[in-house]
């Protein structure tokens, strides 16, 4: 057997980091719990370094055929770990001195670990275990501060996750029944001759769970409520990180385990993509709360990401474009959330009036990130969109690209509703001062994410070749 631990060092480091964090958190006095934050950051950095070494090796399959380490896994590792580091940076001011500070960071690490495992899973049972590991810490994080809105958010998140998790488990059972294995490698050949109807139902049920992780239509109902109800760092985390794992898992499951002649999944995913971007945009149009607006914008972004999944087997560019878009999306979305985290009093769009005068740096990051989410050059998401659109047209889904273009224009409308007030002069009559900054950490996160978003666009030529490679 090939039960080697070597290729799994990044995951092991993360798991060890959470255990050490939990243990030391239990023994540390409350004012010194920041040590756990350092442990978390160190674990993420060490895992990043280990990923860097792993990325230089040839793709491997570990533990039988259950865990794959290839370009997709490595990209997800890097993206998730960097995103987690950024979320840690956003959280410092919000949870410093909190009685359960160390638990917060441990939960973050566990959720990140689950997300990475989602991407590497090459076996339905491991996929479900990873789903649980990525979800359950998320529920706890959503209700972490025990306020009314946060508790409600956690409950909604949990109920939705439990329901779709059961659906996923049902789907896994069905696929196991007709495919006689849970390994993708076996399923690939077995499903081709299996009854197509059952296989289709099974695939759709598994998709339900993964779409819940990704926050795509029709499993998106939790996104706005959780984003709006929970604290901003957690909102940034749950709208960015699980999505990365969910989409990578979707990609691997569909391309490796489900032959297109058994289930016409490209068309299904294309329709889901169109629905996701359209519904997300329509719902975002007249939002006045910045967090709800961002929440619906992430739903529409899932649509663009699903486009790349839809053409993963039909165009040579599909997989690379998905991985690059994920990377760019994570940086850009976290940048926008970081600005929101830095200005905790500003909850509605009109509260941002005059930001360009009072905090020009934050306003610049917001402009870069919001226009980046639209896909304006030279940000990373522009290059991602260019790649995704190219792959989509190349894969024969010209109509989907046209829908995406229409949606991109539509999305510009609500981002401009947010950007417009930035440049007006500040209201002087109101006694409340919404543009109060919290400590400096979220601002550092915002600048880092904004710079990363721009760098990915300008120096994308250096990154794209790293994302080439077949899935194994």
């Amino acid at each position: 057997m090939n039960e080697r631990l070597g290729p799994l060092v990044p995951e092991i480091v993360l798991a060890a980091g959470s255990v050490v964090g939990l243990l030391s958190g239990s023994w540390l006095p409350r004012r010194r719990q920041w040590v756990v934050r350092l442990i978390t950051a160190a674990a993420c950095l060490a895992a990043l370094a280990a990923t860097g070494i792993a990325a230089a090796q040839a793709p491997t399959v570990d533990f039988g055929t259950s865990y794959v380490i290839d370009v997709a896994t490595n990209t997800v590792r890097v993206t998730v770990l960097a995103a987690t580091l950024l979320v840690v940076c956003l959280s410092i001011d919000a949870v410093a001195g909190h009685p359960r500070e160390s638990e917060f960071y441990v939960l973050l690490q566990l959720a990140a670990l689950g997300t990475i495992a989602l991407a590497g899973a090459n076996d339905l049972l491991l996929l479900f275990a990873a789903y649980l590991l990525a979800s359950i810490p998320g529920y706890a994080l959503a209700g972490f501060f025990k306020d009314a809105l946060g508790t409600e958010a956690a409950l909604k998140y949990y109920l939705m996750g439990a329901l779709l998790g059961v659906a996923m488990l049902t789907g896994i059972t069905l696929l196991y029944g007709v495919g006689r294995s849970t390994s993708y490698t076996v399923l690939r050949t077995a499903l081709a001759s299996a009854p197509h109807g059952v296989a289709a139902v099974g695939v759709v049920a598994v998709l339900a769970g993964l779409l819940f992780k990704a926050g795509g239509v029709p499993a998106h109902f939790w996104v706005p409520d959780v984003t709006d109800g929970t604290s901003t760092p957690v909102a940034a985390f749950v709208t960015t990180v699980p999505k990365i794992g969910g989409l990578a898992a979707l990609l691997r499951l569909l391309t490796d385990a489900v032959p297109t002649n058994a289930v016409n999944w490209p068309l299904l995913v294309a329709i889901l993509a169109a629905a996701s971007m359209t519904l997300g945009n329509l719902a975002a149009f007249f939002q006045t709360s910045v967090k709800r607006l961002l929440a619906y914008s992430t739903v529409s972004q899932v649509g663009y990401l699903l486009m790349a999944v839809a053409v993963a087997t039909r165009s040579g560019l599909g997989i690379t474009s998905l991985l690059f878009y994920l990377l760019a999306y994570a940086a850009t979305n976290l940048g926008a959330f970081a600005v929101v985290a830095e200005l905790p009093q500003a909850r509605s769009l009109s509260d941002y009036r005059g930001l360009a005068r009072t905090h020009p740096g934050l306003a610049a990051v917001l402009v870069v990130c919001l226009l980046g989410l639209v896909g304006t050059p030279p940000t990373g998401v522009f290059l991602g969109k260019l790649e995704v659109f190219t792959a989509t047209i190349d894969g024969g889904y010209g109509w989907l690209a046209a829908v995406a273009v229409a949606n991109t224009v539509a999305s510009l409308f609500y981002y401009l509703r947010w950007l417009g007030p930035l440049f007006l002069s500040q209201q002087t009559d109101s006694a409340a001062e919404p543009l109060q900054t919290t400590g400096g950490w979220p601002a550092i996160g915002a600048y880092t994410a904004g710079a990363a978003s721009l760098t990915l666009g300008i120096a994308g030529g250096a990154v794209l070749p790293l994302l080439h490679g077949p899935l194994s």
Partner: protein, 502 residues
């Protein structure tokens, strides 16, 4: 050399960002003027060093995102060099005009410097994605100019409309570019390669769709009827300097796209649908002129004459795609006229918008009915406006005549009916400009005396003269001795016509 020309203003803007906001505003404004002047000198140097027979001069080609087929490929030829010159000149004029700007000068100067980089970059780009990057950034930059320095709250709505409308166009353009690049093997966005290999030759419906996407994107930016509705509000709400750049440079991005991208890369498809472009051009000419005739707002009127002037360009490029009943020489003449018209319109309309800014500065309104008999009090202002208006309506001796004469002569053999109808447009523009001049400058002296307006309706100030007069002088030079310009354009126009008739 070209990279230096393109990125010098952006680097200057980066440097200025480090300067504290509280510094005297003259420091920012004079830096801007100096940078723009240096840039113009560099452009003149590039012009002198360029030999029209060379094809693309000063080319630089560096891989940027090789896996996606995107390169940093820049170069100039006879189609782009005049527009690069126009851009550098117009930005310098705008910089001088802005000497009296007082609102948030640091951001204003940085924004315009970045916009200058974007505009120059677009005209030298020889890669579709590079072109698109600058195309999109020009929209973003102009959005902030209109929203930030426009006339009050309404300017935000106009800016949003402008952004949304032209963004639709730019994304249609992107789809077209992707369609073009996917047809080439290996996939590439390089304009020179795509024009040489024409990967879509003989791909009937697919090529038609690609041309539709590209033409739609460019038509919104140009703008032609029926995609022009964003233009009047954007112009009316924008500051004078923004309007001058919007009309003088940004509109040219659309027409330049036709001669740089649509025609050489899709020659067969262009020939098939050339009549469509002729019809759209003629409709724009007549409709733009008629609507302009009905305006009472001076700035809105100039905005609509832009629709009219861009119509002539579309007529010319459409006629250059109709091979029957004409020869290469006539078609080359039409293309030369189109490029000359771009330069001429940039100079004259840029000047007219700056002058309308003077009008607003003194009277706080663009309504022509509020003014009368200004010639007596402001002879220089009246003279400059009259000269620009006459140039714009195509009076011989000014650049507009050279451009329109070539367009009509070149288009007449192949698009006889269209050209005959379009000539009526000249009559209409003559009528509307004369009417406007009469309303503003003749008759008994009257100007708004509302609160907030300066009591004295003063003539052009030194900075205003220094910005407007050089533009008009250049228009006169082109009108009298156009050889220096035509020598550069003609070989490139000949090449383009040969590419189209392949």
């Amino acid at each position: 050399m070209l990279s230096a020309i393109v990125f010098l203003p952006a680097l200057a803007a980066l440097g200025l960002l480090a300067v504290p906001v509280r510094s005297p505003r003259a420091a920012f404004l004079w830096t801007w003027i100096c940078v723009s002047a240096v840039d113009l000198v560099l452009v003149v140097g590039a012009w002198i060093g360029y030999h029209p027979q060379d094809g693309f001069g000063w080319a630089e080609n560096i891989p940027w995102i090789p896996t996606a087929g995107v390169g940093y490929h820049v170069g100039v030829d006879g189609l782009s060099l005049p527009l690069v010159g126009l851009t550098a000149g117009l930005f310098l004029a705008v910089a001088v005009y802005s000497l009296r700007e007082t609102r948030q000068v640091k951001s204003y100067v940085c924004l315009f410097l970045v916009l200058q980089t974007v505009c120059l970059g677009l005209f030298v780009a020889l890669d579709l994605i590079l072109f698109f990057v600058f195309f999109d950034l020009s929209i973003v930059g102009m959005f902030f100019v209109i929203a930030g320095w426009g006339h009050g709250e309404r300017s935000r709505a106009a800016a949003t409309q402008f952004f949304l409308y032209t963004f639709i166009g730019s994304l249609a353009l992107l789809l077209g570019f992707i369609g073009l690049s996917l047809a080439a093997t290996p996939h590439t966005f390089d304009m020179v390669t795509l024009a040489r290999t024409q990967p879509l030759a003989g791909r009937g419906a697919y090529a038609g769709l690609v041309l539709l996407a590209v033409a739609l994107g460019l038509a919104v930016k140009t703008p032609t009827v029926p995609f022009h509705t964003w233009l009047p509000p954007a112009h009316t709400e924008a500051p004078a300097t923004g309007s001058a750049i919007l009309a003088g440079v940004l509109l040219k991005m659309g027409t330049y796209g036709f001669v740089r991208i649509a025609m050489p890369m899709l020659p067969g498809t262009w020939r098939r649908y050339a009549t469509v472009f002729v019809v759209v051009g003629v409709v724009s000419v007549i409709y733009g002129a008629l609507v302009a005739l009905a305006q009472t707002n001076f700035k809105r009127m100039i905005a609509y004459t832009s629709v009219n002037h861009m119509g002539y360009i579309l007529l010319a490029v459409g006629a250059a795609g109709i091979l029957a009943g004409t020869n290469g020489q006539a078609r080359a003449l039409a293309v030369t006229g189109a490029v000359t018209q771009m330069v001429s319109h940039g100079l004259l309309t840029g000047a007219l918008f700056l002058l309308s800014g003077v009008l607003y500065d003194r009277g706080h309104t663009y309504e022509m009915s509020s003014y009368s008999g200004l010639a007596a009090r402001t002879p220089v202002f009246a003279g400059a406006t009259a000269l620009a208006a006459f140039g714009s309506l195509g009076l011989p001796g000014l650049s507009g005549f050279i451009a329109e004469f070539q367009i009509f002569t070149g288009s007449l053999p192949s698009a006889t009916l269209g050209t005959a109808v379009a000539i009526l447009g000249i009559l209409l523009t003559a009528a509307l400009f004369l009417l406007a001049l009469q309303r503003l400058f003749l008759g008994p002296l009257r100007f708004p005396d509302a609160p907030g307006t300066p009591a004295l309706f003063s003539d052009l100030r030194a900075s205003e003269v220094a910005s407007v007069v050089p533009l008009l002088a250049l228009a006169v030079v082109i009108g009298i001795a156009p050889r220096f310009l035509l020598e550069v354009i003609e070989p490139a126009a000949g090449t383009l016509v040969r590419l189209v008739s392949r």
